[in-house]
Symmetry: C2
DNA sequence: AACTTTGTTAACCAAATGGTTAAACTATAT
DNA sequence: ATATAGTTTAACCATTTGGTTAACAAAGTT
């Protein structure tokens, strides 16, 4: 086995590919740009990943593997809904700060090619709503929560947490806030979003 | 002035360009595909719109001009917040049914090029949050609403209404629903989203 | 040291793509 | 009917882009 340099070329490529694909999408990304960013010859991209599509898929599945655990936290945990909502909204924002492009990237590329998710759904680690559903139904039955379908609650939680990042340029313009002020709005949301949801769904 | 056919070529082009750009984005769109869809020669695209960028901008500004009035309805109207929330959630979903690609298209392309919104903000018809802000502050002061910043409320309203469409493939997978079932969830949201918001923000 | 396998590079290639051009066509004005 | 100005087309062009190739370099194997 010949390894010329101490650096792992394959990993360098994937790292550069993440940056470029997540910033520009499949259509906007250029193989040459990825090679340049990785500081290697373009032919190496094909040596390790065959073609653009496969390199893209490596980036996509990796991105998804980072997002999935975040969602499983709210779907599969045993704590009461209220606690899960509070934890999720706070954790999710921390996640976005570490990986700001990921949710946007996934949403954008799935819209371009919706069938892509079928492959992901086969994976046993794909987030599943069943447990969350039982939990919500149970808390509704016990009178802890107002009547609401688990699916709708889940969509609402996702919406309130995800959209402020996905539609950031638009919302910045509409709310007439600069970068700094918008960031403060997001910071405040770490707790306010959870309060907003809890107020809406809790009885009493 | 010579007009060969009764059909207006310029309009045919714009129509085809809308379809292609909104489905595939700036990067994914192909001038030839637009020409084919319009049933005209590719050179006509450049004759009427000079180049891809300008044709794209024509499509984008038109798309935005359709979205803006929807938002002005909630921002500039005089009715109480509760009524505005109810009207908006119902109207917005009707809007999406007519123009399913538009919000997604705008969000996606603004992320690709955030500076693009600066041009739009100059336009005096750009939606402005000031009036909405005064209204929310006033209703909070009167004790009709719980304390909440107008910006946060606006973001929440947008999030709950927009994300279910923008992230449709993802949410369909997570909620484990097919096309039909997901559509029913969306249908139910016409009233449920408003209820969700009102429950959260109204005192009493 | 010779051989083999793996890794790397520069040069190259074919197809796709945005854009141009020159000629042809059509309707209208003179 | 002829000139004129706007409209349309087919062919063409330069560049970009994903992908390939052949030669070469490094490290391990014998």
């Amino acid at each position: 086995m010949a390894r010329k340099k101490d650096e792992n070329t394959e990993a360098l490529i994937l790292e550069a590919a993440k940056t470029v694909f997540q910033a520009k999408g499949m259509d906007g990304a250029r193989m040459q740009e990825i090679a340049d960013k990785a500081g290697i010859n373009k032919a190496m991209l094909h040596y390790y990943y065959r073609n653009k599509q496969l390199l893209f898929e490596a980036v996509f599945t990796h991105a998804f593997s980072l997002l999935a655990p975040q969602l499983k936290a709210i779907l599969n945990d045993d704590s009461p809904i209220e606690e899960k909502v509070r934890n999720f909204t706070s954790d999710y924002i921390s996640f976005i700060i570490d990986y700001p492009y990921i949710p946007n990237f996934i949403i954008q590329e799935l819209n371009r090619n919706p069938d892509f998710i079928l492959k992901l759904k086969d994976n046993p680690s794909f987030p599943n709503i069943d447990k969350f559903k039982k939990q919500v139904d149970e808390e509704v039955k016990q009178g802890i929560l107002r009547p609401i379908r688990a699916e709708q609650l889940f969509i609402n939680i996702m919406a309130l947490n995800v959209l402020p990042f996905v539609a950031k340029p638009l919302l910045k313009a509409f709310t007439n806030t600069g970068e700094e002020a918008y960031h403060q709005l997001l910071e405040a949301r770490k707790t306010e979003v959870a309060d907003f949801i809890i107020h809406s769904i809790k009885t009493s």
